[in-house]
Symmetry: C2
Subunit: 121 residues, 2 copies
């Protein structure tokens, strides 16, 4: 299973219908386990505001190691959620940004945050 | 960090304000990593419809083993998301249901599902 580079527009329209939640959905499971991987949520949150340099992301997330950030960014790039942008400045500057697909996770991030505010002590 | 047994009502009201997403939030990370654990999403979906017996959950989720379902249900019980109900029928019947806290994850499940419908191929 992998992610689309363009949204499935037909499904986008359907998604507003609030149907019964079916017991098993491999796409749902794939998504939740992808964004639930250790540190991924924090990385997504950090990039929601603006593109960031590697060290800016690292500095924004207490406890995240250099090695794990590299690993997670590579995975998110491979999935098409994050894009690595090489700017032609001197010295060369590299930033990480969310793709359209990654940015569209904002309602997911918000719903998780809202639940966490209410329920996590 | 752990979950409340009753919702934080003040936060519940605030949660409707759509503020800027801050870069780092330990509660958010705790929640996402909890529900992103392998099989947890599928178990939550299965229980959203109705309370289920162990074998009903197992049968609804292809690929999930007996051992892992036991482990995940215990974790979710400890967190206060799932409750194990022993019915006084003969023979004794045991079902698993979502607590109020677990049931309130429905908007999260929906937002992940909607995103998955649009983006997962």
């Amino acid at each position: 299973m992998n992610l689309r580079t363009e949204p499935n527009v037909a499904k986008h329209a359907e998604a507003t219908d609030h149907n019964e939640i079916s017991p098993f959905c491999p796409r749902f499971q794939y998504t939740l386990e992808l964004i639930g991987r250790r540190w991924v949520g924090a990385i997504l949150r950090t990039l929601m505001g603006a593109p960031r340099r590697f060290n800016e992301i690292l500095g924004a997330i207490p406890g995240l190691s250099d090695r794990l950030l590299t690993e997670r960014l590579r995975e998110l790039e491979t999935e098409g959620i994050v894009i690595r942008v090489v700017h032609s400045d001197r010295p060369v500057r590299v930033t990480y940004d969310l793709t359209c697909c990654g940015r569209s996770l904002e309602p997911v991030i918000r719903s998780v945050s809202e639940w966490a505010e209410v329920w996590v002590r």
